[in-house]
């Protein structure tokens, strides 16, 4: 009986640790007070409203959205063919390619960010914007390749041959037969990439400049000057957005079987 009690206690602690911060942020966001504090002073939606009025948040939200959507699309444009090639053909050095493609997950973001700033942006004069876009594409690429690879592995290869014998070109067979059958995996990769990019901090921290700043970086900058609950309100909104996306993905395509 004691063992069972201990198990419940551990479970409770873990849940508190996982969900606690989320609850605290929501509470802080609904505060009527002037500074970021828990427990909240009074109850109000004014900070939630305020979030939408802060000009720089609107701009950096746009940047983050753009990066998350188009960075992920670019990563998929590279990652889907890469996954297909690695899966279907015996390419020499395929393992090396797989490892290199996964590198951005393993190498700490701070290093990636610093390296890009020091050896790409500064010497070549590439703008912060394009550098940020490249960085996010590279960061999402591993997820794209892995998730799409997993769906490709579950797909028979003889259906492509069947399509070719029925009159398709090799590319036609890919488009008409392979792509529709890995759609779930591609969508899952998109969602994973989107969330990864949107929540990315360390790389984006190095690659920010006048007018180009991702939302999380902007929030850190804002907090250094204004210690008010609007950051908590924004955090809560973003958390809800992520939860909504993942929930919808799980409901409509069984997200968890892909990742």
């Amino acid at each position: 009986m004691n063992g069972r009690l201990a198990a419940w206690a551990v479970l409770g602690l873990v849940l508190t640790f996982l969900i606690g911060p989320f609850l605290i942020i929501i509470a802080a966001a609904l505060s009527a007070g002037e500074s970021l504090a828990f427990p909240p002073q009074g109850l109000s939606l004014k900070w939630v409203v305020k979030v939408f009025e802060i000009e720089s948040f609107r701009a950096s939200f746009g940047v983050s959205m753009f990066l998350a959507v188009f960075g992920t699309l670019a990563a998929l444009a590279l990652g889907v063919p890469a996954a297909y090639g690695l899966n279907r053909y015996r390419v020499p050095g395929a393992e090396a390619v797989r490892t290199i493609v996964s590198a951005p997950i393993i190498v700490p973001g701070i290093i990636v960010g610093l390296a890009l700033l020091r050896y790409l942006v500064i010497p070549t004069g590439v703008g912060i914007g394009p550098a940020l876009f490249l960085a996010h594409t590279a960061l999402i690429l591993p997820y794209a390749v892995r998730v799409v690879s997993a769906s490709l592995e579950n797909l028979r290869t003889d259906i492509e041959e069947a399509a070719v014998l029925l009159g398709c070109t090799r590319f036609g067979a890919f488009r008409r037969v392979v792509l529709p059958n890995i759609r779930g995996g591609v969508l899952a990769a998109f969602i994973l990439g989107f969330v990864t990019s949107f929540n990315q901090v360390p790389v984006s921290l190095f690659l920010s400049g006048p007018g180009v700043r991702t939302l999380p970086v902007d929030m850190i900058a804002y907090m250094e000057i204004n210690y008010d609950p609007s950051v908590a309100a924004l955090s809560a909104l973003l958390a809800f957005m992520s939860v909504a996306i993942v929930f919808a993905a799980e409901k409509f395509l069984g997200f968890s079987k892909y990742v």
Partner: protein, 319 residues
């Protein structure tokens, strides 16, 4: 040159190893051919080369008077029913059958698909997903999908091996009926001699990338040309013949048990319904014999007399 499909000196290789070695074979229009052999004999490789999924290292494939050796599979007018059926999982039965017709932009799509499905008896299944069908039904869809394209040659990869015994007979009759009705030239690959004997007009027995024998089922069954073919069609005891320098082969039923000049020890015995099968260790080598089930069983370990009557043996040029 009356051949409809001919393979001339066809050599196929995977990486460095030769899978099929200078194969020559002629097939007439409307024939039903079986490529028979154990796994690794090159039969599937040959079939894939005919379909164009594999480029020959050397040699020529001629189909209906045209050299198709370098023609893309999509333009060969060859159909292939895959062993695993290879239906498109994201399309309905109707769309699977319509797939090739749509690419050809043929008119009368619905009527042609309906006719194709009717041929294989699946008219009521047009709107189903392939996953909702049984294995036998999936195979019929795959067959219809190839047939509606009006192929010059229809290839079938182990068409019966994934079906249970009852369905196998049904599908065998179905394939023969379809072949009669459409007149399409069919080549099927199998490792099962019973399947080949029951279905084919002519059987091509392959071994190690070469043709061992080509003949009618009767010829293959009664006059195997080599020890390999003999063994494959059930002549399980093959012994050298000192009189001719060749070899003699017996089916288990041709071996007399219980009397005769030779003696052997029963190593294994099994009951097979209509008969009992025995494996004997003898001074001549291993002998396989059988008796009707009505004969009382012999116990393993027992010594028994037997005879290998010459009159019931098949003569082979070599073992």
């Amino acid at each position: 040159m009356s051949e409809f499909l001919s393979l001339e000196d066809l050599t196929l290789a995977y990486g460095g190893s030769v899978a099929v070695d200078r194969l020559n074979l002629g097939i007439r229009r409307g024939e039903l051919i079986a490529l028979l052999g154990p796994s690794g004999c090159g039969k599937t490789t040959t079939m894939r080369a005919i379909a164009g999924l594999l480029s020959p290292k050397s040699g020529t494939i001629r189909l209906d008077g045209r050299d198709v050796t370098r023609v893309a599979p999509s333009r060969r007018e060859v159909g292939l029913v895959f062993q695993s059926y290879a239906l498109f999982p994201h399309l309905t039965v109707f769309e699977n059958v319509a797939f090739g017709l749509r690419l050809r932009k043929e008119g009368d799509l619905a009527a042609k698909v309906a006719a194709g499905l009717a041929t294989v008896g699946l008219s009521d299944f047009a709107d189903r997903a392939p996953a909702a069908l049984s294995g036998g039904q999936q195979q019929r869809v795959a067959l219809a999908r190839s047939l509606v394209m009006n192929p010059k040659v229809l290839l079938l990869d182990e068409p019966l091996s994934n079906l249970d015994a009852r369905l196998r007979l049904e599908m065998r009759l179905e394939l023969q009926r379809v072949q009669r009705e459409t007149g399409v030239t069919m080549i099927f690959v199998t490792h099962d001699q019973a399947e080949a004997l029951a279905l084919a007009d002519r059987i091509v027995v392959m071994r190690d990338g070469k043709i061992e024998q080509v003949g009618s089922p009767e010829q293959i069954w009664t006059e195997p040309a080599s020890g390999f073919v003999a063994d494959f069609v059930g002549f399980e005891t093959i012994l050298p013949d000192p009189e001719t320098g060749g070899a003699l082969a017996w089916r288990p039923a041709a071996v007399t048990l219980g009397e005769g000049p030779h003696r052997g020890v029963i190593r294994g015995a099994s009951f097979a319904g209509a008969h009992r099968e025995y494996v004997l260790d003898t001074a001549l080598g291993v002998v396989k014999a059988e008796t009707p089930a009505s004969v009382p069983p012999l116990a393993p370990g027992a010594e028994v007399a037997f005879d290998l009557p010459r009159a019931r043996a098949v003569r082979l040029a070599s073992a």
